[in-house]
């Protein structure tokens, strides 16, 4: 049994290296991904893309050597060295550039986390086990010897590696989380209150607000509900003196045309203005009203 597990290590490591190496070498976004990794700090900005590609080529070479016969201990040693080197690189990146992408499996950016270390550690352990217990046993002879056990163990190991890869999260973790949320409803219980934001949106869409907004000086200072109305209070300036603008907005229905406003001088306790329908609008275009041609242009 331990021999079986050890003997399939070349297949597992070879498979993972084949995948990550080909993404580094042939991936469409490989150049962009290279620049996001912490490699730039090690080899310099200008050499990061070639270095990334050379690393990919090296991974492919070792992958082919591991999978193809004959089984050699030197292949396993190379795989172990690559894994150990990768752990060292991750450690460097986590310290020097924690915001960078780990650049592990290419296809999509993923931040360096404990999972990246765990995956690289699994690779290192697998190659060390193979070196110790089965340095010269070929995986294909084991496969023909114990096909069921071999396939089951390989599948389990492949699942472990995939589970430790953030690159696959959208395939299994995200659907799982969505299913969990659908079953448990973690955000239910919001109630049926009408949020203030909803009332403000209705206010802003009203004609009365459009005709008085230029007088407002502040955001909402105060609000309260009374019957079917919600009152929103703003600070304003009206006729060159400070005033309080109070809007009454329908609370439980959407009816921007029913919005009313009053401008109040609170010191004197007098109402300066009330409006419950917007004044009729001029049908001429706005630029005619606000931007008459200067005198000298008109007479010229």
């Amino acid at each position: 049994m331990p021999t079986t597990i050890a003997a399939l290590a070349p297949l597992l490591i070879g498979g993972v290296l084949l995948w990550s190496g080909s993404l580094k070498l042939f991936g469409r976004h490989a150049a962009a991904e290279a620049r996001r990794t912490a490699l730039a700090g090690l080899v310099g900005e200008a050499r990061v893309v070639p270095a990334y590609r050379i690393l990919g080529g090296l991974e492919l070479l070792i992958a082919v050597a591991l999978i193809a016969p004959p089984p050699l201990w030197i292949d396993l040693a190379a795989g172990a060295a690559l894994s150990a080197g990768f752990i060292a690189y991750l450690g460097y990146a986590a310290l020097a550039a924690p915001a960078s992408s780990c650049g592990c499996m290419g296809s999509r950016p993923s931040r360096i986390s404990w999972r990246a270390f765990a995956r690289a550690g699994t690779m290192l352990l697998a190659s060390a086990a193979a070196l110790l217990w089965a340095p010269s046993i070929a995986w294909y002879t084991e496969l023909s010897g114990e096909p069921v056990l071999f396939t089951a163990v390989l599948a389990a190991e492949a699942l472990l590696v995939a589970g430790l890869s953030p690159e696959f999260d959208h395939r299994w973790l995200l659907p799982l989380r969505r299913l969990h949320n659908r079953l448990t409803h973690p955000l239910s219980g919001g109630g049926f209150e009408i949020p203030l934001d909803s009332t403000v949106t209705q206010l802003i869409r009203s004609g009365v607000y459009r005709h008085t907004a230029a007088a407002l000086r502040s955001d909402v200072t105060e609000h309260w509900d009374e019957g079917e109305w919600r009152f929103l209070v703003y600070s304003a300036r009206y006729e060159n003196r400070p005033a309080t603008a109070v809007y009454a907005v329908p609370r439980l229905r959407y009816a921007p045309d029913d919005v009313r406003v009053a401008m109040v001088d609170e010191e004197e306790g007098t109402t300066l203005l009330t409006m419950d329908t917007p004044p009729p609008e001029d049908s001429r275009p706005e630029w005619v009203l606000t931007n008459p041609l200067p005198e000298h242009v008109r007479t010229a």
Partner: protein, 199 residues
């Protein structure tokens, strides 16, 4: 409350009657800006003198001392007419040292900003929902983890640009959201004011 009674009767009483547009006089933006005189003249590239952002380093009576992110120091006077937002419209005693703020107002001759509006700890994040927990969202904000708490009765959701509702249950893991919220100073946590999502 007397004041609320006065304001309610002013807006619903209808005693003053309908006032036409002419009575509003100069409400056009050009006239309003012209009335503010020198303050309206800002050279391109210059900072807006009537706006301040930063962290509160001290509070004396109704004056806030603020250090901006560029290192400049400001004092901000808060008046009765100042609107204060901290998750929702609130009062001056809710403002604490260490809070971040955006302030808009009018710069006085002594350099103090007389604030019209304060937005305390307000943040605007474009993020991905990583996962949803009980009463909170875990957001991925450009690789940074942000915990966004839902406060029942306060937090609102806007789905597909329709008016806001309290029901947050249509948010989904893995989707993009825009969140307006109140930051908890010196943490990676916020409380949601409004979350915008497509469903």
């Amino acid at each position: 409350m007397d004041r609320r009674k006065l304001l309610t009767s002013a807006v619903l009483g209808g005693a003053a009657g309908l006032v036409g547009a002419t009575a509003l006089g100069s409400l056009s933006p050009e006239d309003v800006f012209a009335a503010e005189g020198a303050n309206a003249k800002i050279n391109p590239g210059d900072p807006d003198p009537n706006f301040v952002e930063g962290r509160i380093t001290g509070i004396t009576d109704t004056v806030l001392f603020v250090t901006s992110s560029d290192g400049s120091l400001h004092s901000i006077r808060v008046t009765n007419g100042t609107s204060i937002w901290k998750l929702n419209p609130t009062t001056f005693d809710e403002v604490k040292v260490g809070d971040g703020l955006y302030a808009r107002g009018l710069r006085l001759a002594d350099g103090t900003l007389a604030a019209d509006s304060l937005w305390v700890n307000i943040v605007n994040l474009n993020a991905h929902v990583d996962s949803i927990g009980r009463g909170s969202l875990n957001l991925d904000h450009h690789g940074q983890r942000v915990v966004a708490h839902v406060e029942n009765g306060r937090s609102a959701a806007v789905y597909n640009n329709t008016p806001a509702v309290s029901d947050m249950s249509m948010l989904e893991a893995g989707k993009h959201v825009k969140v307006i919220g109140a930051w908890h100073p010196d943490t990676n946590e916020i409380t949601i004011s409004t979350v915008y999502a497509a469903v």
